[in-house]
C-alpha cells in the first residue's frame, strides 16, 4: 500500500516536474533565442554553398565581433519557408531573395529599401546594369547581388564537325537546319535539348527564347502581350512546337539572386547597422576585396554581377579553366531581366508552365495557350 502510494506520488511528482521543466525550458529557450537575436544578425539562405557561407560569416564575426545566426532551407521549399518565417515574425534580418519574388515581398512589407545606405549603394557603379534593375522595384533598390547568371545555348563542337558543319548557328532557322543535318547523319536522335519540365527554371528558358525571337510576355506598362502574334511569345513557342522561322538574336534573359534587408531588421537600430555591414561583407567588398563572389566562383562556378571581376586575374584564370571569359563577359551584356516580374508572378508562372506544356505536347494550340496565359496575367493584375 505504502509502496503503491509512493509510486503514485512519485509518478505525479514526475509529471508535475516534467511539465514544469518543459514550460521553463520553452520559456528559457525563447528568451535565449531572442536575447541572441538582439545582438546578432539573423541570416537566412537556401542551402547552397553552405560551407562557403559559413566560412565567410565566421570571418565577419571575427572582424566585427557580431554574431551571425545562420540558417538555411532547400531551394525547393525556400520561398514557402522564407514567407512563413516573415509572416510568423521569426527573426530574419538578411536573406537571399530571387528577382522573381521582389515585388511580392516588397508589397507584403517584408523587404526594406537600401537607398539610404551609401556604403551599399556605391556598389551599383560596379554592377551589371540588368542586375541593378533586377533589384529595383517602384524606384527603390532592395539589395546587393549574391550571384547572377544568364541563359545561353551550348553546342557540341565534335558533333557539328562530324556532321560537316563548320560554324555554330546564328539564327533559329540555322539551328533547325543543323539539327536536321545532325539527325540525318545518324549522329544524334535528338539534336536539340530544351527542358520543358514545369519547375522554377522553365520561365528562364522560355524568356530567353522569347527575347531571342524579339518577343515579350509583358510590355513596359505591365500589360500582357504574350498572345500577340508578332510582339508576343508566339514565335518562340511555335519554334518549340514546330521549328521554323529565320529569326534570332543574342538577346537572352539574366536572373539575379540578391541579399535583401528585412523591415524587421530596420526597425531595430543595432540589427539594422549589423545587417547593413553583413550585406556589404557578402554582397560588396570584405576588407577591400570581393572575397565572397570569388569564393562562390571558385567553389561552385557561380556567375557574378560585379563588372570589375571580369578584369581580376584570379577570376580570369578560374573562368578560362572551363570557358573563354571574353565570350562569357560579352554574352552577359545581352542579358535582360525577366519582363514578367510582378507581385503575382508566382501564380501566373504556375498556370503559364502548364499552358506551355499543353502547347508543346499538342494538347492545345500555341495561340490558345498564350491567349489563356495572357488572360490569367490580366485577371491577376486586376485583382492585385
Amino acid at each position: 500500500m505504502n509502496k503503491n502510494m509512493n509510486l503514485e506520488l512519485n509518478r505525479r511528482e514526475f509529471l508535475k516536474l516534467t511539465s514544469a521543466a518543459g514550460l521553463v525550458s520553452t520559456g528559457l529557450g525563447g528568451m535565449s533565442i531572442n536575447a541572441f537575436a538582439a545582438d546578432s544578425v539573423n541570416f537566412f539562405t537556401w542551402s547552397a554553398a553552405v560551407d562557403t557561407v559559413k566560412s565567410h560569416a565566421n570571418a565577419f564575426e571575427k572582424k566585427f565581433n557580431v554574431g551571425v545566426n545562420y540558417s538555411n532551407s532547400p531551394w525547393a521549399q525556400y520561398r514557402d519557408a522564407g514567407i512563413a518565417k516573415l509572416v510568423g515574425k521569426a527573426p530574419v534580418d538578411v536573406l537571399w531573395v530571387s528577382d522573381a519574388w521582389l515585388p511580392e515581398w516588397v508589397e507584403s512589407g517584408w523587404l526594406a529599401p537600401i537607398n539610404k545606405y551609401p556604403e551599399l549603394m556605391k556598389y551599383n557603379a560596379d554592377t551589371a546594369d540588368f542586375c541593378v534593375k533586377s533589384m529595383e522595384y517602384k524606384g527603390k533598390q532592395y539589395g546587393l547581388t549574391y550571384y547572377t547568371d544568364y541563359m545561353g545555348f551550348f553546342y557540341d563542337d565534335s558533333k557539328l564537325k562530324k556532321a560537316g558543319i563548320t560554324a555554330p548557328p546564328k539564327t533559329w532557322n540555322e539551328v533547325t537546319e543543323q539539327c536536321l543535318k545532325i539527325k540525318a547523319a545518324g549522329i544524334c536522335e535528338f539534336p536539340f535539348m530544351l527542358s520543358m519540365a514545369k519547375e522554377s527554371w522553365l520561365i528562364e528558358f522560355i524568356t530567353a527564347m522569347n527575347y531571342s525571337f524579339g518577343g515579350r510576355f509583358v510590355d513596359d506598362s505591365g500589360k500582357a502581350i504574350m498572345q500577340d502574334p508578332q510582339k508576343g511569345a508566339a514565335q518562340a513557342l511555335q519554334w518549340v512546337v514546330m521549328p521554323a522561322g529565320p529569326k534570332g538574336s543574342n538577346a537572352t534573359v539574366g536572373w539575379l539572386r540578391f541579399y535583401g534587408l528585412t523591415t524587421q531588421a530596420v526597425a531595430d537600430k543595432t540589427r539594422e547597422a549589423n545587417s547593413v555591414k553583413l550585406i556589404e561583407w557578402f554582397g560588396g567588398k570584405a576588407e577591400g576585396k570581393y572575397t565572397f563572389q570569388k569564393n562562390l566562383l571558385n567553389d561552385l562556378g557561380s556567375g557574378f554581377g560585379v563588372n570589375s571581376l571580369f578584369k581580376d586575374p584570379e577570376v580570369i584564370a578560374s573562368v578560362n579553366a572551363y570557358t573563354d571569359i571574353k565570350i562569357y563577359e560579352s554574352a552577359q551584356k545581352f542579358a535582360k531581366k525577366k519582363d514578367t516580374i510582378a507581385p503575382w508572378f508566382g501564380e501566373w508562372d504556375e498556370a503559364n508552365g502548364s499552358l506551355y506544356q499543353s502547347a508543346v505536347l499538342g494538347k492545345s494550340t500555341v495561340e490558345n495557350a498564350l491567349t489563356k496565359s495572357a488572360s490569367v496575367w490580366t485577371d491577376l493584375a486586376k485583382k492585385a
Binding site: R11, R12, L15, S19, D80, I83, A84, V87, E104, E107, S108, G109, E189, M196, A197, K198, E199, P343, G346, E347, E350, G353, S354, L355, Q357, S358, V360, L361, K363, S364
Partner: protein, 281 residues
C-alpha cells in the same frame, strides 16, 4: 484528470486545434503574400473551388487514379494472398521479399520510380528496348495519356504488400471444414473459390478498399516527386491542387477549403463503402 491533462493539452494543441483552425481560415481570403489583408468571406472559397472547372478536372483525375490503383491493388493482393495461403517451397522467402516495398518510404519509392521511368537512362526503357518491345527510348512521364497510369503503377507496387497481408489474415480465418464439406459435395476448385473464399473475404476486401481508397484519394508524394502535376496538368490531382494553392500560390484560405472538401469526399467514400460492402462485417 490531473494525470491526463498534459496529454489532453498535447492532443488539443497538435490535433484538435490545427483541424479547427484550418476550418476557421477556410472562411477567410488569407493569402500569405498580402498577410495584412485577410477579409472574412464566409463560403466564398468553397463556392470559388466548386465553380472552378479546374477543380472538376482535378476530381476526375483523382477518381481515375483511385479507380486504377485500387482495382489493381485488390486484384494483385488477392492473387498473392491466395498464393501465400498455399504450402510450397520458398514460401517464407517470398513472404519476406513481399514486405520490401511496404518498408520503402514513399519518397524513396518515388525517387526509385523516377529513375526507372527516366527517358535517358531509365531501367524501363532499357528493358523494353532489349526485349525488342520498343525501338527508341520513350519519354514515359512526358506522355499525358500514360502519366496517371505510371504513377498508379508506382503506388500499386508500394501498397500491394499491406493489402496482401490484410487479405491473407482473412484467408487464414476461413474454416478448413467448409472446403472439406464442399469437396465432399463435389465442388470443383473454381466453385470453392467463388462460393466460399470470395464471400468469406468480404471483410478483408472492405478493409483494403476503405484504406486504399483513402490513401489513393489523398496521395501526394508520388505526384510531387514524379511529375509535379504535369505534364500539362495530366497528373494535377486534388492533393496537388491543395499543395499548389497553399504553398505555391500561398492562398491558405483556398487551400484550407480544398482540404476540407477532400476530407468530406474521403469520409463520404469510406461511408459509402462501409454501407454497401461492410454490412456483414
Amino acid at each position: 484528470m490531473w494525470l491526463i491533462s498534459p496529454m489532453m493539452f498535447v492532443l488539443m494543441s497538435v490535433a484538435v486545434f490545427p483541424v479547427v483552425y484550418s476550418l476557421w481560415i477556410s472562411f477567410f481570403d488569407l493569402k500569405l503574400r498580402r498577410p495584412k489583408s485577410a477579409p472574412f468571406i464566409w463560403f466564398d472559397n468553397y463556392i470559388h473551388v466548386l465553380s472552378d472547372p479546374g477543380f472538376i478536372d482535378s476530381v476526375l483525375r483523382t477518381s481515375s487514379f483511385t479507380l486504377m490503383a485500387v482495382s489493381a491493388i485488390m486484384l494483385l493482393a488477392l492473387l498473392v494472398a491466395l498464393l501465400l495461403n498455399e504450402n510450397f517451397i520458398g514460401k517464407k522467402f517470398l513472404s519476406t521479399i513481399l514486405l520490401i516495398p511496404w518498408a520503402v518510404p514513399y519518397v524513396a519509392n518515388g525517387l526509385m520510380w523516377k529513375w526507372i521511368y527516366d527517358s535517358g537512362y531509365g531501367a524501363l526503357n532499357g528493358a523494353l528496348l532489349q526485349l525488342g518491345f520498343i525501338s527508341n527510348y520513350l519519354i514515359w512521364l512526358g506522355d499525358t495519356d500514360k502519366t496517371l497510369a505510371l504513377i498508379a503503377n508506382a503506388f500499386v507496387w508500394k501498397e500491394v504488400p499491406l493489402a496482401t497481408i490484410l487479405l491473407l489474415v482473412n484467408l487464414k480465418s476461413i474454416p478448413e471444414d467448409l472446403y472439406s464439406a464442399a469437396k465432399v459435395d463435389g465442388a470443383n476448385i473454381w466453385q470453392r473459390f467463388w462460393n466460399i473464399t470470395l464471400p468469406a473475404l468480404k471483410p478483408g476486401f472492405t478493409l483494403v478498399m476503405i484504406y486504399e481508397v483513402m490513401m489513393a484519394v489523398r496521395h501526394f508524394d508520388l505526384f510531387f516527386i514524379l511529375t509535379e502535376g504535369g505534364p500539362a496538368d495530366a497528373s494535377h490531382v486534388l492533393s496537388w491542387e491543395i499543395y499548389v494553392e497553399t504553398f505555391r500560390k500561398l492562398s491558405f484560405g483556398l487551400g484550407a477549403a480544398l482540404s476540407y472538401l477532400l476530407a468530406v469526399v474521403t469520409f463520404l467514400l469510406a461511408f459509402f463503402i462501409i454501407k454497401t460492402l461492410g454490412k456483414k462485417i
